[in-house]
Symmetry: C2
C-alpha cells in the first residue's frame, strides 16, 4: 500500500482551486493565482514521492522517476492543469492526477522499470489566455518559435514573458532539451464526445486528431449614433459578423465538420453606438485537411462578399492551424489488446492535445480516453464517473508497465 | 468684454480630458477620473463667475445666476459632460460650454434678468456606465425611482451608490427639489444627423424626439467543446443572436426606423467553447410609438421562433423605454422667428436627451441644434465647425435673453 494520497484524495485536493461559486466552472488560466496553486500542488506531489522536479523555460512542469537500473529513452505521461474560461474539472487534470496514481501503484507493486518515467504538466494547453493552444508543447518541439511566443499578450496586454516572470517562472522560450530524452508519450484524457458511450467502454485509445485551426476575423466599420444614423448610411460590422457566424454553422453542418464562433470582442460595445469593430474567432475542424481548407476558404469568400455589400472591412488572420494527427499506429494497436481483457476501442477526436503536437514532432505517442456520459466538455457540466476514472488509472498502469519494461525500441 | 475665458478657451480646456491617444475618442463615463475632471471644471467655471453652485443627490451639477431683481421660475440651460465609450467631443459638452459663454455675454451686455438663470450638467446622460440613459433627469423628475437607481451596477459590479460616494458625491437618489423652481429648459446640442446640412442652416430648433428603447436579449444555451460537439447536438445561443441581429437590421430598414445591436457580452467567450450565454442589447427607435412597438414585437417574435429552432433560451428585458417627445410647440415656434434673421428650421431627432425627460415631465422645453457636417455622432469623428459652434452660442444668447426678460408666464 502506498502512503501517498489516493486518486480520489488528490482529486479532492484540486477540486476547489479556481472553481467559481456561481457557475461551478473552473478559471485556471495560465499564471493566474488559481493555476499557480495547481502548479504548486504538482510540485508538492512530485517532492513527496521523491521525484526529481524540473520547470523548463517554457513553464512545463516535469517530475522524473528514475530508480537504479532505469536508463535510456524515458516514458512521458501527463497532460495539463490549465482550463478554458469557465471550464470543467477533468479536461487536463485527469491525466495528471492519473499519472501520479499510476506511478504509486507501480512503485507499490515493486516494478523495476527499465526506463525512466516522467510526469508532465504542459502550460496553456487551452490557449485561453495567450491565444495559442498547446503553447508548452509547441514551444518544446519548436513548432512555435521562442521569438513568436515572446510577442504573445493576453487580453489585458500582459505579455507571456511578464506573466511567467511575475509567477516566478524564469522564461527561456524555445525548444526543450529534455525532449531528446523522451522515447514515448502517453496522455490520458476525458473523452470530449460520446463514442465510448456508444461502444459501452470505460476506456479507449485515440487513433488521431482532426486538423483544426483558429482564425481571427476582424470586421471593421464606422462608429456612429445608433439612433440618428439612417440604416442606409451605416457601415455596421456587426451585420457582416452575424451573417458570417450563421454561414459558418451552416457550412459545417452540411459538410459534417465543425465551425464555431464562441469568442467576440466589440468596439466601442455601447448600446447606443453602431460598432466600429467586431473581432470574432473561428474555431474550425474537419475530418481531413482538404475538408478543413474547403470549409475555411468557402467561409472566407462568403464573409468577404458580405463585407463588400455592407461596406465594411474584413481581415482574416490564421492564429494557429494544426494539421491532421495520426497517433503511432503500431503502438496504439499493440496497446489496444492485452490478455485477460476485451480490446479497447480506438476512436478519433476533434480536440487538440499536446499529444498531437508531440506526435507530429516524431515522438511515438498514444492517447487513452475515459468515458464521458454526456460528451459535454469545456463546460462546468463536464463529468466522468469515479468508477470510470479509476478504470482509466488501471489502464494507464497497464500501459506504463508495458512501456517501462519494454525493450529500448519501444515496442511494448 | 468679459474677463472670463472665451468659448474657444473653455473648449480647449476640456479637449484633452478623457481623450484616448489611440482613437481620439472620449472616455468620460460617469464618476471615472476623466468625468470627475470635467465636473471639477464645471464647478471652477461657476465659482469664477460668482455663481451659486449646487450638486443634488443625483449628482446633477447646478450653477445659479440670480442678480438682484431676478425672481420667480428660473430659466434652465445646459446639457451633460459624460460621453459614450470612445465618443465625440461635442455630444453634451457643447451645450454646457455654450451656456457659460452665453451667460458671459448677457452679463457683459448688462442684461438685468427678470428671472434666475441656471446652468446644469446632468450625469450619465448616455447610460454608458450604469445602463440607463438620462439617469440624472429621470431621477430628478421621478421617472426613475431612487430605489430602482440604487440597484444599478456597472459592468464591473460597482453600484451607482458606491461610484458616487467614492467620487465624493453624497448620494440621495430621487426627485429633485430644485426642479420646482424651473420655469423653462433650453438644451443646446450638436445635431446627430444632417438635416441642418440639407437646410443650409448653422442652427435649428428641435420639434421632438422619436420614441426609443433599450432591450436586453439574453440568449442562453449549453457551453460545450467547439471541436468535439457535433453541430446537431449543440444548443448555441450565438446562432440565435446572429439571426436576431440581422433581422433587427432588416426590419428597421424596411420600415424606415432604427434598430441596432451594438453591445454584446458572451460567456465564457472562449475560442474553443460553444457559448453558454450571449447577452445583446437592442437599441430601437421609430417615428411614433406604434411603429416602435411593431418593430420590437415583430423582432421578439422572430427571435423567439429561432430560439425554439436552436433549442436555446431567450429572455427579453426592456431596460429603458421612452415615449415620443414633442417639445413645447408654442415656445418653439415663438423662438424660431426673430426680427433681423431668417427663421430657424425646426427638425426632429431620433436621439434621446435630458430635454426629452424634462419636457415629458411638464417643463416647457426647447432644443437648439448646431450643424454637424457629416452627421456622425457617438464616434471620435463627431464634429462641428468653430464658426457653427459660435453661431450656436449666439442663438443661445438670443433665446436666453428673450426667456430671462419675458413675463412670468414664460412666453418670450
Amino acid at each position: 500500500m502506498s502512503a501517498h494520497p489516493t486518486f480520489e484524495q488528490m482529486w479532492a485536493e484540486l477540486a476547489p482551486i479556481g472553481r467559481s461559486a456561481t457557475t461551478g466552472g473552473y478559471f485556471r488560466q495560465p499564471y493566474t493565482a488559481a493555476e499557480l496553486e495547481c502548479r504548486a500542488w504538482f510540485t508538492e506531489q512530485a517532492v513527496r514521492r521523491g521525484l526529481r522536479t524540473e520547470v523548463d523555460g517554457n513553464g512545463t512542469l516535469l517530475a522524473w522517476w528514475q530508480p537504479e537500473g532505469a536508463a535510456g529513452p524515458a516514458v512521458l505521461t501527463g497532460s495539463h492543469l490549465d482550463s478554458v474560461v469557465d471550464g470543467g474539472a477533468y479536461d487536463g487534470p485527469l491525466g495528471v492526477v492519473s499519472a501520479f496514481a499510476a506511478l504509486d501503484r507501480l512503485v507499490a507493486d515493486g516494478l523495476a522499470p527499465a526506463r525512466p518515467l516522467v510526469v508532465a504538466a504542459f502550460p496553456e494547453e487551452e490557449g485561453s489566455r495567450f491565444g495559442v493552444a498547446c503553447l508548452g508543447s509547441r514551444l518544446a518541439t519548436g513548432v512555435l518559435s521562442g521569438d513568436d511566443a515572446a510577442r504573445l499578450q493576453d487580453a489585458d496586454g500582459t505579455s507571456l514573458l511578464d506573466a511567467m516572470a511575475s509567477a516566478g517562472v524564469a522564461p527561456d522560450l524555445g525548444p526543450a532539451a529534455w525532449l531528446s530524452e523522451i522515447g514515448v508519450y502517453v496522455e490520458l484524457h476525458i473523452e470530449q464526445g460520446r463514442d465510448l458511450v456508444h461502444r459501452d467502454a470505460a476506456v479507449g485509445l485515440g487513433s488521431g486528431i482532426w486538423p483544426h485551426g483558429r482564425y481571427r476575423f476582424d470586421f471593421t466599420g464606422e462608429a456612429n449614433h445608433a439612433g440618428t444614423t439612417h440604416m442606409e448610411d451605416r457601415r455596421d460590422p456587426m451585420l457582416t459578423y452575424a451573417m458570417t457566424a450563421l454561414a459558418a454553422n451552416k457550412q459545417a453542418r452540411l459538410s459534417g465538420n465543425r465551425a464555431t464562433f464562441g469568442r467576440v470582442a466589440v468596439e466601442p460595445n455601447g448600446t447606443n453606438a453602431v460598432p466600429s469593430r467586431v473581432s470574432a474567432w473561428l474555431d474550425a475542424r474537419a475530418e481531413d485537411e482538404t475538408a478543413l481548407s474547403t470549409l475555411v476558404t468557402g467561409l472566407s469568400r462568403q464573409a468577404t462578399e458580405r463585407a463588400e455589400r455592407d461596406r465594411t472591412g474584413l481581415q482574416i488572420t490564421a492564429e494557429s492551424v494544426s494539421g491532421a494527427v495520426a497517433f503511432d499506429e503500431g503502438l496504439t494497436s499493440r496497446l489496444a489488446t492485452h490478455e485477460g481483457r476485451e480490446p479497447w476501442p480506438v476512436i478519433p477526436t476533434a480536440a487538440g492535445h499536446d499529444a498531437g503536437i508531440l506526435s507530429t514532432a516524431g515522438i511515438p505517442t498514444a492517447m487513452l480516453f475515459v468515458r464521458n456520459p454526456t460528451g459535454i466538455s469545456h463546460s462546468p457540466a463536464e463529468h466522468a464517473s469515479t468508477q470510470d476514472c479509476l478504470a482509466g488509472v488501471d489502464a494507464l498502469i497497464e500501459v506504463l508497465e508495458r512501456l517501462l519494461t519494454a525493450p529500448a525500441d519501444g515496442s511494448p
